[in-house]
């Protein structure tokens, strides 16, 4: 039986209560929304991208602890990264939260805290919602991405 503490790790709870980069971004030149119609989670990701680099990133919205913490920690993880590095990080993150073999969660730094999500399949969408919105923003898609 999975332990709740594997899912709700301290760092996740902490970020859900005090999300980082939780604001709009004046200088944003990309923006995308992520929406999970099943539970009503809804986030907007703001990006300032230049020369293939994520210069700044922020988010706003509402959702469960997992989705909010994931959005918050994602903004920290990708700020300053090149867009292809962010994409690579997303791939690794996705593998870890879906419990796929082959990716060491220690490649992920703090994001490894989300490894416990793999024991809760219905929560994978919560953990990846902000990431899907990030990708949509990077690809310049204007419409909202939905997890359904």
């Amino acid at each position: 039986m999975p332990d709740l503490r594997d899912l709700y790790q301290d760092i996740i709870l902490e970020h859900s209560k005090r999300p980082r980069n939780y604001r709009t971004l004046e200088a944003a030149n990309r923006k995308a929304e992520g929406f999970n119609p099943l539970c009503g989670d809804h986030f907007t990701i703001y990006l300032e991208v230049g020369d293939g680099q994520i210069r700044d990133i922020s988010f706003q919205g509402s959702g469960c602890a997992i989705s909010k913490a994931s959005a918050s920690m994602m903004t920290q993880a990708v700020k300053g990264k090149r867009t292809e590095e962010a994409e690579e990080l997303f791939q690794k993150f996705h593998h870890v939260v879906t419990g796929k073999n082959g990716v060491e969660s220690n490649d992920l730094g703090k994001l490894a805290a989300f490894a416990g999500v793999s024991e809760y399949p219905v929560r994978v969408k919560c953990a990846t919602l902000a990431w899907h919105a990030l990708r949509a923003a990077l690809q310049g898609e204007q419409h909202a991405v939905s997890t359904e």
Binding site: M1, L13, L38, G40, D41, S62, A65, I66, V122
Partner: protein
Amino acid sequence: MTTAANTAFRPQAAAHADFDVYKVRADFPILARTIHGKPLVYLDNAATTQKPQAVIDTMVRYYTAENSNIHRGVHTLSEQATQSYEQARATVRQFLNAGDPREIIFVRGTTEGINLVAQTWGRANIGREDEIVISAMEHHSNIVPWQILCEQQGANLQVAPVNDAGELMLDEFEKLLGPKTKLVAMAHVSNALGTVNPVRKIVEAAHRVNARVLLDGAQAVPHMSVDVRAIDCDFYAFSGHKVYAPTGIGILYGKAELLEAMPPYQGGGDMISSVTFEKTLYNRLPHKFEAGTPHVSGTIGLGAALDYVNSTGIERIARHEKQVLAYGTRRLLEIPGLRLIGTAREKEGILSFVLEGIHPHDVGTILDQEGIAIRTGHHCAQPLMERFGVPATARASLALYNTMEEMDALANGLLKVREVFA
């Protein structure tokens, strides 16, 4: 934990000699299951109910000894299956106190029943600029079919508001009624709030302006005695799976004179009396609306489920559920930061709530670890969530087998949720 003292005030579950909830529980094999090593506390009955052994046995018996197609064969099996199928219709007629078994149409569920009315009666009777009135507490299945119809016919949808307790604002509703109103479509009981709507008053007001009334009875039929003739509604729909029957079977009741005049829903076998390439004659009621091979085993299972409810006694069920609801309400209100959504005076066994600072989804995951099954989300009632300014709620919904102890388990589980997020 903090509850040992509180449970001392728990009313005795077996307060009534004629309803023994523990005996009832023994009728439902799934309730013996454990989830994550804890006894299952099933509080998602508004989504679907568990099935008593009598229903399971009936369906096994059908497939073991009676299976065949109905209304088609001269052989014995077909005759027996047809008889069982029509017996189920007679049981439903009696259960709703409809006047005539021809008024009972077997459909897939509430959703199909409403869509049937929208696309047959609605296409024939709703015109440009006509109005359909619903309420702010409808399930999506009593919103979207009317939106589609309005789009097709150039008609307009009007929405009657609810107050902060989650009750229909009857005076506002009546103001919406007028010569253009052709239909009122409303929940008998709200799945997201538990509110019981004053259906007699709704029907009277609608009939005064010559509008027809469809009631969505999905959440009413399991919990109260429903008499469609006393209510005088024109259509009434419900789902078998919410009243201890299998999925995939439901009922549309309609007044015979309306059903007679309505065009058919789907074309196919059984719904015709003769077919040539030039002209097809439709079958009589109720077969006109039952094209194709129906869900025979489900229908027979529904009959068995209603027999089960009848033998337990709907009034006894209602009284028991009311007691558990009252106790559960009290226990939940002791939880710091808990806000109940839906506090109507007339209410069925639904406890919809939010916990301050904690998303319902997280509440659901943590309760699941305690073996407690609740629903979290918008409950297919997004406009209603908006009305109450929440993206989602957690919802515990009751059935006849729920106990006072389970309300304690829920309250304890919620204290645990608060601990995790402390």
